[in-house]
């Protein structure tokens, strides 16, 4: 009896398996080559990315992980020369301002098509600018951060941050000429035209897939199908899929690309948040490279035969000083004492990665407006003590806030940096009360919104080559972070930003940098640190960019 039962159970299980198997069919395209190995021209490149993109519509992109795939699928009117922050032609072959910089005329590249086969032309350019300008609803306007930051406002501002719009109109006198008119000149142009967020999308796809449909849903925002599944640009790679379960984004080569075609057939971004896991995947050979290797691993990775590609620096770390929270810090001599007390040479040498440099001002030397004559304030503890004594602050006590649970390219290990700087300050008689707070657990609120700190660590990675993108962000207006009330400083920054011819703009910011370091010293610039990428030795052509704007079309796999 028992064996009969077992037999019937086995038969039932077998029948069930056969039934299930007959319901399931392989969805593989039997004619297609299975990925992985070298394809007809270049195989598949798998790159480990530390985070997932928010979406695929560059207009709503706000962070590096969202920019990374977008940069492969889209083009901007102007781009940056590979490996630099210098401007270079992209969809526009020429760009010319009028006399007062309120109108920009773009000569467009001919023979370019979007991934959906529709033509790229001046009408498409104007469609994109008009789309951004006319975005409706606070959710969409909030998500279009970079458009809002550069063009300041929308046709109908629906957020509290909205200002009178800089954008006026766009005209297409002929298919290959787009004329952009502005309500006011801005020094950020033309560099800002290279921002990934201002990439040109296919008007047909934008309309077809509800690109502007950004809605609030409970405690989140949702996007139209364009942003989630149908990004359509003119770039060297086309979107194929985003497997949200496996965390894999797959792009394929655009064989109709207007420029030099991508060398690999397929480009895969595998999202691996844990840095150690990315390293082990590289070592196991399951990925070809990854972003942001830990600086402590650079040397060992090189020894193992991998290529560590160090980016040119394009960020700044500063020791913030809040003059409002601690009246003693209003005295310039006290702030200078803090600067003289910090041994930044040692900090850079001992705590920061190879390629890091001591900052002499609030922008790195890769940004126009850098004053080459400015030297870093020297490490001089005796001078620091003397200045503190002169200011009557020999027994100064400060609350020093620093973030935990975070690394940033400009700040690879905040706790170590804090420890070194606090030690410097204690050595000149300053009492330091350490206040560690999790980055996303109150730190930003404390130092930026509340201004609860006397000293703090923070920094900035630039978006494009404009000194205003750094200095305007820090000191353009009064903020709780620094507790500044000096209208002369705000006026000087505002005046520099208003100079629109590139040479004058840079010269004005050079002067601002000098004055910041000598007259105001609202914070202490510490250092600029380069983040890196790492690839296997058979990967060539990946050019590290100061803007983290790496393009994979030049990459080949040997």
């Amino acid at each position: 009896m028992r064996s009969v039962r077992r037999l019937s159970a086995a038969v039932t299980a077998g029948l069930l398996a056969i039934t299930l198997a007959s319901c399931a069919e392989s969805a593989r395209d039997s004619g297609a080559a299975q990925g992985g190995g070298a394809g007809a021209t270049g195989g598949t490149l798998v790159f480990g990315a530390p985070g997932a993109p928010d979406n695929f519509d560059p207009a709503f992109a706000q962070d590096g992980e969202t920019f990374r795939p977008a940069r492969q699928m889209y083009d901007t009117l102007i781009t940056y020369k590979l490996g630099t922050s210098e401007l270079a032609p992209a969809l526009a072959t020429e760009w010319t301002p009028n006399a007062d910089f309120t109108q920009w005329t773009f000569k467009l590249r001919e023979g370019v098509t979007f991934h959906d086969g529709t033509p790229f032309n001046a009408e498409a350019v104007c469609f994109n600018f008009d789309r951004w300008y006319n975005l409706k609803g606070a959710p969409a306007q909030t998500q279009a951060y970079y458009y809002g930051a550069v063009f300041e406002g929308f046709a109908q501002n629906e957020t509290e941050a909205g200002l009178p719009p800089v954008y006026k109109s766009c005209a297409a006198p002929d298919p290959n000429t787009a004329v952009l008119s502005l309500n006011k000149a801005k020094g950020a142009f033309p560099a800002a035209f290279g921002l990934t967020s201002l990439s040109i999308s296919s008007p047909t796809a934008l309309k077809q897939y509800d690109a502007d449909k950004v809605e609030q849903s409970g405690e989140a925002f949702t996007y139209g199908a364009y942003a989630t599944d149908h990004p359509t640009g003119t770039g060297p790679f086309k979107f194929e899929s985003y497997d949200r379960t496996a965390n894999v984004i797959t792009l394929v080569r655009n064989d109709s690309y207007w420029g030099e075609k991508a060398k690999v057939d397929k480009l895969i971004f595998k999202i691996i948040p844990d840095e150690n896991a990315r390293k082990q995947e590289l070592q196991a050979g399951t990925i070809d490279g990854y972003d942001y290797p830990n600086a402590a691993d650079w040397e060992s990775l090189r020894t193992e035969g991998y290529n560590v590609l160090v980016r040119p620096v394009f960020n700044i770390l500063y020791l913030g000083i809040n003059q409002k929270n601690n009246p003693a810090l209003k005295d310039l001599r006290v702030r200078q004492a803090i600067a003289y007390a910090t041994d930044r040479e040692s900090l850079v040498r001992n705590q920061l990665p190879e390629g890091a440099v001591v900052a002499s001002q609030f922008i790195p030397d890769t940004v126009d407006g850098y004053a080459p004559d400015l030297q870093p304030l020297p490490y001089d503890p005796d001078r620091a003590k003397q200045l503190l004594a002169e200011a009557g602050q020999s027994n100064l006590t400060v609350n020093f806030y620093y973030p935990t649970e975070v690394t940033r390219p400009y700040m690879p290990n905040p706790t170590n940096i804090f420890t070194a700087l606090a030690e410097n300050l204690r050595a000149v008689g300053i009492t330091v009360n350490p206040v560690p707070q999790p980055w996303n657990g109150g730190y930003l609120d404390s130092v930026q919104a509340t201004g609860a700190q006397d000293l703090h660590l923070l920094g900035w990675t630039g978006d494009y080559n404009d000194a205003g993108n750094f200095i305007g962000t820090f000191f353009g207006t009064g903020k709780p972070e620094f507790g500044l009330t000096d209208p002369a400083l705000f006026a000087e920054v505002g005046a520099a930003d208003a100079v629109v011819d590139p040479a004058g703009h840079a010269a004005a910011y050079e002067q601002v940098n000098r004055d910041l370091m000598t007259k105001y010293l609202p914070a202490v610039p510490i250092s600029s640190s380069p983040p890196a990428l790492v690839v296997r030795d058979n990967i060539t052509g990946l050019i590290p960019s100061p803007l983290t704007d790496e393009r994979f079309l030049t990459v080949s796999k040997g």
């Binding site: 928010d54 989140a220 595998k270 930003l444």
Partner: protein, 334 residues
């Protein structure tokens, strides 16, 4: 019986309501929030305030809670603040990964644990027994994340026997049927996909299996020793039964009763342990969702995961109570 079930089910409602209130209040009492996480480096106080205003986080807590309850009542657990995907759909997609990993770990733990425990008991005091005891102590003591990294360093990086992380190689164009990668390959006859998924499963399953394996070995060993000392085994011996018959029919069968209870308890622990294992192996299951949601302060996803977890727990408890009554008629359901 029916009255008991209905009454217990009705008790679930206030239990979950209380839990939802606790989860809701706890999340919002934490410093930081989804806005700062979402906006990253560009999170200025003004932008955070604007973001919070738009998604209603600036409203009084009771208003937020009321809206949350209203949505949950319609089966809408909200949308992830990070991925903009409905959280229930995300959980549905991730669930097979976690279940697959847990089943694999449990299989390893049971198939290795029971024979090892039995052998250790049979050879009490001998080297194999001592080695097993030491091994199980180490198994319980080693943190899962450390073991995970160690396994990857040796078997993925050094030896190259298994892939270091993920569920399937990116080059495998597998057809998704049930979400269980190994099973899908079998169903669709994509044998390479199934084998690849299996090879990805080995290291995380071993890492996750360590603690339950150690527990099962120790319980089996203790239980077998207990049974070996019992009168009926002596009687069986004196009757002249062969050692093989005594082992299988009498010792093992009786010793396995407490072991099966332990295995049941380990299932719940496995799901908990999967959080760390999934993080280390970039597994993409419920554990990964939970870990990411904590980092991103993703309120909707965290609320859904914690509440659904609590619901499962409450329902399993109810089933256990019912099963006692069925197995042992002396237990009265009242």
């Amino acid at each position: 019986m029916l009255r008991f079930v209905v009454r217990r089910l009705l008790q679930v409602v206030p239990t979950l309501l209380l839990l939802s209130l606790l989860v809701f209040a706890w999340l919002r009492s934490l410093p930081g929030g989804p806005a700062a996480a979402f906006l990253g480096d560009r999170a200025t106080p003004e932008r955070i305030a604007e973001y919070n205003r738009l998604i209603g986080l600036d409203q009084p807590l009771y208003v937020q809670y009321g809206k949350f309850l209203a949505r949950v009542a319609t089966g809408d657990f909200g949308t992830s603040t990070k991925t903009s995907q409905p959280v229930l759909a995300e959980i549905g997609r991730a669930m097979p990964a976690t279940v697959e990993l847990s089943i694999a770990a449990l299989l390893i733990a049971v198939l290795l644990g029971i024979p090892l425990g039995y052998l250790a008991a049979q050879q009490r005091g001998r080297p194999l027994d001592v080695a097993t005891i030491i091994g199980t102590l180490v198994g319980v003591a080693v943190p899962v994340f450390f073991l995970g990294y160690l396994l990857k360093a040796v078997f993925a990086v050094q030896l190259g026997w298994f892939p270091p992380s993920g569920r399937q190689a990116v080059s495998i164009d597998a057809t998704d049927v049930t979400g269980f990668a190994v099973l899908d390959g079998l169903l669709t006859r994509e044998w390479d996909a199934s084998l690849d998924a299996l090879s990805h499963l080995v290291l995380p399953a071993v890492a996750l299996a360590t603690i339950p394996l150690a527990v099962i070995v120790r319980i089996t060993r203790a239980s077998v020793l207990d049974v070996l000392d019992s009168d009926f085994v002596r009687t069986a011996n004196s009757k002249g039964l062969t050692p093989g018959v005594i082992r299988t029919r009498h010792v093992l069968r009786n010793a396995l009763l407490p072991v099966s209870t332990t295995i049941g308890l380990q299932v719940g622990l496995l799901l908990g342990g999967a959080v760390l294992t999934e993080k280390v192996f970039n597994w993409g299951g419920i554990g990964t969702l939970l870990a990411d949601a904590i980092t991103e302060k993703d309120y909707p996803r965290l609320q859904a995961l914690l509440l659904l977890g609590a619901l499962v727990y409450v329902l399993v408890n109810l089933l256990v109570d019912l099963s006692y009554a069925i197995i042992d008629p002396r237990v009265r359901l009242s």
